[in-house]
């Protein structure tokens, strides 16, 4: 393992964590989408770099899938959905940059604390990758917990899934078939979610989750 190869892998994976943190405080939907596209692009680069240094050619396919679907198709699709729903001017109240950043930093620290001792036996790239991937997953979950808007939830979910792909690329031996099926399942999830967004909109005149809670029937307590 050359120093440079390791450094670039480290840079790209770390970049994903930083972009995940960026996602946390984007209060406009378009900005959120653009940052997500950047996130996916970084993922594609990271996976491509892993394919290069591991000489695992099937990972190039994974990187390609990430590039085409996650960095281009899904953001564009969501972009159009947002425009059609007419919510591009909506400002989402984010809990506060400082608070979110502190929570995110704590999660990253937690991920590293958990992962590094567990993977003590494996090589450095995989260890860093796994730690960063767990951090991305946790940050994605935090994003989903923090937001009210359904589109933001979708983005949180997609960024979470990016973290999973990063982990899969770092851990050698993930079969291509699994990668492809995961990629397609995400795509199908997007279609389903898109349909649901419009249905929700039709029903409730909003895609704000808080507005929907008011409609919940039969709720006890």
């Amino acid at each position: 393992m050359h120093g440079l190869e390791f450094d670039i892998a480290h840079l790209l994976a770390g970049g994903m964590v930083v972009i995940s943190l960026l996602l946390l405080y984007q209060d406009r939907l378009y900005a959120l989408l653009k940052v997500f596209a950047l996130h996916s692009l970084t993922l594609a680069l990271a996976v491509g770099w892993q394919a290069h240094i591991q000489e695992a050619h099937h990972l190039y396919v994974t990187a390609g899938i990430a590039l085409v679907f996650k960095a281009i198709v899904i953001p564009i699709a969501l972009y159009r959905i947002v425009r059609q729903l007419g919510i591009h001017r909506t400002l989402e109240v984010v809990g506060g940059v400082g608070r979110d950043m502190l929570a995110g930093a704590a999660l990253v620290a937690l991920a590293i604390l958990v992962m590094l001792p567990v993977t003590a036996g494996t090589d450095a790239v995989a260890r860093e990758d796994l730690a960063f991937a767990l951090a991305v997953v946790l940050l994605g979950l935090l994003l989903m917990v923090n937001r009210h808007n359904a589109v933001s939830l979708v983005i949180g979910f997609m960024s979470l899934e990016n973290g999973l792909v990063l982990a899969a690329a770092g851990a050698r031996g993930m079969p291509l078939a699994v990668e492809i099926s995961v990629a397609f399942s995400v795509l199908i999830a997007l279609i389903v979610i898109g349909i649901f967004l419009f249905r929700i909109r039709e029903r409730f005149d909003s895609v704000d989750m808080q507005a929907m809670d008011a409609f919940r029937g039969g709720r006890r307590r």
């Binding site: 999660l107 937690l110 604390l113 567990v118 946790l138 979950l141 935090l142 009210h148 989750m209 809670d213």
Partner: protein, 671 residues
């Protein structure tokens, strides 16, 4: 290869069950299913007997089924051969009975497919030689018998019984699963051969014993895990009740013996025996007390199953106590007594349940208060039932006496035990055993007297007629076996010896066949012996002598005069003893303490035309203090968490997120 033949015959039973699904749609096809089941059971019975009596070496077989890295292990040794004999004897007789009784079944489609499957499941449990196969067959047996319990599911009591049965069966299997997990150890050696050789720490072994006691005890009906049994066993059709009570509980006993005596092996701590012994004693007495309070004939019999399971566990507990002190000769006696009682109970309990089935088919009644006088229309059924009742009451020269006598002989050896606690506990349990035997006799005087003697208490009982020939053949097969096992106990004890020596480090009872006059001599240097043949001869001779003397010297003239009628010359059937009134003295002595029985007499004031009322209120202590609090706690907890069902999606996500972070934090801090 007898083992592969046994397995294929068990599979054949499954095929019969599948075939019955289509056969049941056509009327009159039930005989086919029962007939084939009968033939297969008889073949299985013969093979098991041959294996047991020839003392053949254990046969093993591994099939590429089940878990891929484990396979399905099967094994036939003396112990499984003995239980195979018990199971298939019960299965054969129940099938024979059902050839006639099955005609009365209103919904054959709900019974026919599961009946052979139930038999197959029990056979597979006995042949299994790894934990996975054992648990699979065990669950198969539980579920198919559950389906049979639910055969008449339109009666609400049956659905409740089925639900309770399902819950308790799941609980038992869970306990067994955990026990096997402990036995297999961290390496996961789930086949019995590996478990046998594995070393266990005493603490883990004790935990495994308690889990096994819960798992098999819930199936066998050990107090306090018996609550489902008196509800579920009577709910099934009578020939299935006979199988469940007479046979399936024995499969549970087999599970206990197989795991505790065979798989856990040495060393046993001495208190294990005490625990099992105490549980057995409590079960025996409580079972018979419950039975005395019952007026439903089938439920009464089911409670007697609980009692007899207690007696079997007393024998097993004594055997554990003796083995824990390396007293193998005494342990052989206790084990023989327990296994002998397993056989006996399967004989007479099947007989009694089948007899009840005949009564039920003839009258449509299970409630004793609505029966009576059946000895006149159904003399043969009454005779067979009487033999079964005498056998379960442990009257010589029948088989129940022989095995209970052996159990008492084992108790008489306990003063040689070094532990003082056991020295005191064993005689106390002996007293409980004696009490339960006496109460059982009282209970069967009630059951037989109220059902078959006196005058009919309902029109249905008055119009009953004798049952069919198949059923009578089945009844008298069992009655004959009860008598034979009672007068020739030595032969049975010799037949049991391979199984006993397998479990007992090679020690067994002395050979009985060489004793003069077929006397039963349990211990070489002991004074007490029993000879069922001599007892029978004495009874027969004295009976004939008495009859001759009476006929010789008494007057030949027939005199008819009014019966002694207590000043009420207009006798109607309601003036007879009822089941409740017969049991009243015992209810007053024991029931007021154990069941908090309270009697209340409401007399109408003078001039009021209403009838006086007599009410008895009883509480079930096991249910009220054991199960009701658990149920209440479960309901309270689920009510508390009920609102979790109605959270928003963000709340759910937050819960998942919080749980994940907490777990990760725990993991980070733990290291």
């Amino acid at each position: 290869m007898p083992l592969s033949l046994l397995l294929s015959l068990s599979m054949a039973l499954l095929v019969v069950g599948l075939h019955a699904i289509s056969a049941a749609r056509r009327t009159g096809r039930s005989q086919q299913t029962y007939g084939i089941s009968l033939v297969i059971c008889v073949i299985l019975l013969g093979m098991a007997l041959v294996h047991l009596l020839s003392a053949a070496a254990p046969a093993t077989l591994i099939l590429p089924l089940g878990l891929p890295w484990l396979g399905a292990h099967f094994r036939l040794d003396a112990l499984s051969a003995f239980f195979l004999m018990v199971v298939n004897l019960g299965g054969a007789v129940a099938s024979l009975f059902a050839l006639g009784y099955g005609q009365h079944e209103p919904a054959p489609g709900r019974v026919l497919p599961f009946y052979p499957a139930f038999l197959a499941g029990m056979n597979l449990v006995l042949l299994a030689d790894d934990a996975f196969t054992f648990l699979f067959a065990w669950e198969f047996m539980s579920l198919s018998s559950w389906a049979l319990v639910m055969a008449h599911h339109r009666e609400s009591a049956n659905t409740r019984a089925g639900y309770l049965y399902l819950v308790m069966a799941c609980f038992g299997t869970l306990a067994l699963l955990l026990a096997f997990g402990l036995l297999a150890g961290p390496q996961g050696g789930y086949d019995f051969a590996t478990i046998r050789t594995a070393e266990m720490t005493p603490g883990l072994a004790a935990l495994a014993l308690i889990l096994v006691l819960m798992g098999t005890g819930s199936k066998a009906g050990l107090v306090p895990l018996h609550v489902w049994l008196p509800l579920a066993h009577p709910a099934a059709p009578s020939h299935v009740s006979a199988l469940m009570s007479g046979v399936m509980t024995k499969v549970a006993v087999y599970g206990f013996i197989r795991i505790v005596f065979d798989l856990l092996g040495e060393p046993v701590a001495w208190w294990w025996g005490g625990l099992v012994l105490g549980l057995g004693g409590i079960t025996a007495v409580l079972g018979v007390l419950y039975a005395l309070m019952q007026h439903d004939l089938k439920r009464l019999l089911a409670y007697h199953t609980v009692e007899n399971i207690g007696i079997i566990f007393i024998g097993l507990g004594l055997a554990l106590a003796f083995q824990g002190n390396q007293m193998y000769a005494s342990a052989a006696l206790a084990l023989t007594a327990a296994l002998f009682h397993v056989l006996n109970h399967s004989l007479f309990k099947s007989l009694l349940f089948l007899g009840t089935g005949a009564v039920l088919a003839a009258t449509g009644e299970r409630d004793m208060e609505r029966l009576g006088g059946l000895i006149h229309p159904m003399p043969w059924t009454a005779l067979a039932f009487l033999i079964g009742a005498a056998a379960i009451s442990a009257l010589p020269p029948l088989n129940g006496f022989a095995s209970e006598w052996l159990t008492f002989q084992a108790i008489l050896l306990t003063p040689e035990l070094p532990q003082w606690l056991l020295k005191f506990l064993a005689p106390a349990v002996g007293a409980l055993l004696a009490l339960s035997a006496a109460l059982a006799a009282a209970c069967f005087v009630k059951a037989f007297g109220i059902t078959f003697l006196g005058r009919p208490r309902s029109p249905a009982a008055a119009q009953a007629c004798e049952t069919d020939r198949y059923s009578l053949t089945a009844l008298f097969t069992l009655a004959t076996l009860c008598l034979l096992a009672g007068i020739l106990p030595g032969l049975v004890v010799d037949g049991l010896s391979p199984a006993v020596s397998l479990l007992n480090g090679g020690a067994r009872l002395p050979v009985q066949q060489s004793q003069p006059w077929l006397t039963l001599v349990p211990v070489v240097d002991v004074k007490s012996t029993y000879n069922g043949l001599l007892v029978l001869l004495f009874m027969a001779l004295s009976g004939i002598l008495a009859a001759v003397l009476i006929h010789r010297f008494a007057s030949h003239g027939v005199r008819r005069s009014p019966a002694w009628d207590c000043g009420f010359p207009d006798v109607n059937p309601a003036a007879q003893y009822t089941a409740g009134s017969f049991a009243q003295p015992i209810r007053r002595v024991f029931g007021s303490v154990v069941f908090q029985a309270r009697e209340q007499v409401t007399m109408p004031p003078p001039g009021d035309g209403r009838a006086a009322r007599f009410e008895v209120k009883m509480r079930d202590p096991v249910w009220d203090y054991g199960y009701a609090p658990i149920t209440a706690a479960v309901i309270a907890i689920s009510n508390r968490f009920n609102h979790l069902q109605y959270l928003t999606i963000r709340r759910y996500l937050s819960l998942v997120f919080g749980a994940l972070v907490l777990l990760l934090l725990g993991m980070a801090l733990w290291r």
